[in-house]
Symmetry: C2
Subunit: 276 residues, 2 copies
């Protein structure tokens, strides 16, 4: 087994960074500004330029039909930045995020639209700045009537380039950022089967809505005007009075709605007993 | 509102790709092979080179203490490829994946270790090739005793560079790829509180184990020897007899274990009724 120490890894990382910078400087002498732009790929976060939420909505919607919801959410933002800004965004293959479709290869975990847009946000914002944006996006997703009126309007008017001929779709609130809860809840509310053209179009519109919302939040933050509205449901904060970190039970640290799975909360330990 | 058609977007994407290729060709004349390597950033998937799973385990474990589990899982593979291969991998800021910690900014959704490693797999494998690797990784995660014996051995021997002085930790099987289920289940099984040093070290070891497992699977696939072992639990496949796509109910398409949330399955519709 080859071991590397943390110190060595950090040293190596520094070496490669400075090496790359030296290389870039050499190239710069020969080829002007292009190489300077390339040097920016070493600095995180990458520079965000305000985008049009409607362009993000449409691009994400249409991209769903290429590689699913996670690719769609990521492409709605980073694909637009590739078009509007170019480098360094063109260095990232958008397809990297295609794994997240259907809550990661159909496992039904995190909604891919959220996963892809969160990755995009995290590319253009540092840890501290991305936290309120992603938290607000997640909270909004759980409470919004989706697909949005705006997406339904585009459907009604046939204005999505990847139009499936579907007009207004029924809306519901998922109460959850999880793919399975979101999609199954919508199927039950809307009366469509899973895998139907309508369900796929619902998810493509949700991907568009999520990318558009993320762009609205990023634009507001860029202007120093980000306002966060999401508040955890009272039923969840009540559970955390005992279960939250540093509380009496101290075994839960999350923001999902407890009662969607734990309808009889104190059976939870029995279930864990079964799983163990 | 500025509208772009799908056709226009695809045309633009083509234009930028060929434009970049022309630029690269010009640079190549001046600066040799470095520019050729850079041209590879346009082609997905990026070329995988077999890695040492133990290096991935240690790097992912230690990286947890910088930006959490998702960054750790991604860094355990892509950070190693940055070190071993360099370009094009150095173009991606590893910090992009830091959003996934604690199931995305503490929401408790998808385990970040899985999210980060799945993104890494999806960068070096196309859609078709990544599917069995990620599916096997997800299934393995739900059934494995974690943290692994190997991680515990490193803890026992003080061999993690980011050593916290913690020896062998209790193990459990999560039954789920979700952060909340995994972490709370472990806290209940192990008798440690959430947010404790032990729970954090447990998650850092799980991130290491997940990256190491992913590298083992990628290496096997590279050699044409990938064997998948995961089979969905019988309790879940029984539910899907009616609920799965194209079945009688047709409202579920996922691979998570149903009975962890739906202990009395046919109350599910009542719960959806409440959420709507």
């Amino acid at each position: 087994m080859t071991r590397i120490t943390r110190k060595k890894f950090l040293f190596d990382a520094f070496k490669y960074t400075t090496g790359a910078a030296t290389g870039i400087a050499g190239l710069n002498f020969l080829s002007g500004h292009k190489a300077i732009a390339r040097a920016k790929t070493k600095v995180w976060p990458w520079p965000y330029t305000k985008l049009d939420p409607e362009e993000a909505r449409i691009l994400a919607h249409d991209s769903f039909y290429t590689f699913g919801c996670c690719y769609a959410g990521f492409t709605g933002i980073i694909g637009l930045l590739q078009k509007e800004v170019g480098e360094p965004f063109t260095a990232i293959p958008l397809e990297m995020m295609s794994y997240g479709g259907g809550g990661v290869k159909g496992w039904g975990t995190l909604c891919g639209a959220l996963n892809g847009t969160a990755a995009a946000i995290s590319l253009v914002r540092d840890w501290k700045a991305s936290t309120p944006v992603i938290n607000e996006l997640m909270g909004w997703y759980t409470e919004a009537l989706l697909p949005s009126d705006q997406s339904n309007k585009y459907g009604e008017d046939g204005k999505f380039p990847a139009d499936k001929g579907i007009k207004t779709l029924p809306q519901n609130t998922s109460g959850s950022p999880l793919c399975h809860v979101s999609v199954t809840g919508w199927c039950s509310a809307a009366g469509y089967t899973i895998g139907s053209t309508e369900q796929e179009e619902r998810c493509s519109r949700v991907a568009g809505d999520t990318a558009a919302k993320a762009v609205e939040l990023l634009n507001a933050q860029q202007d120093g005007k980000l306002q966060t509205e999401y508040v955890m449901p009272a039923s969840t904060s009540e559970c955390l009075i005992c279960h939250g970190p540093e509380k009496e039970v101290a075994n839960v640290d999350h923001k999902m709605t407890c009662i969607q799975c734990h309808d009889k909360p104190h059976e939870a330990d029995e279930r864990n007993e079964i799983i163990r």
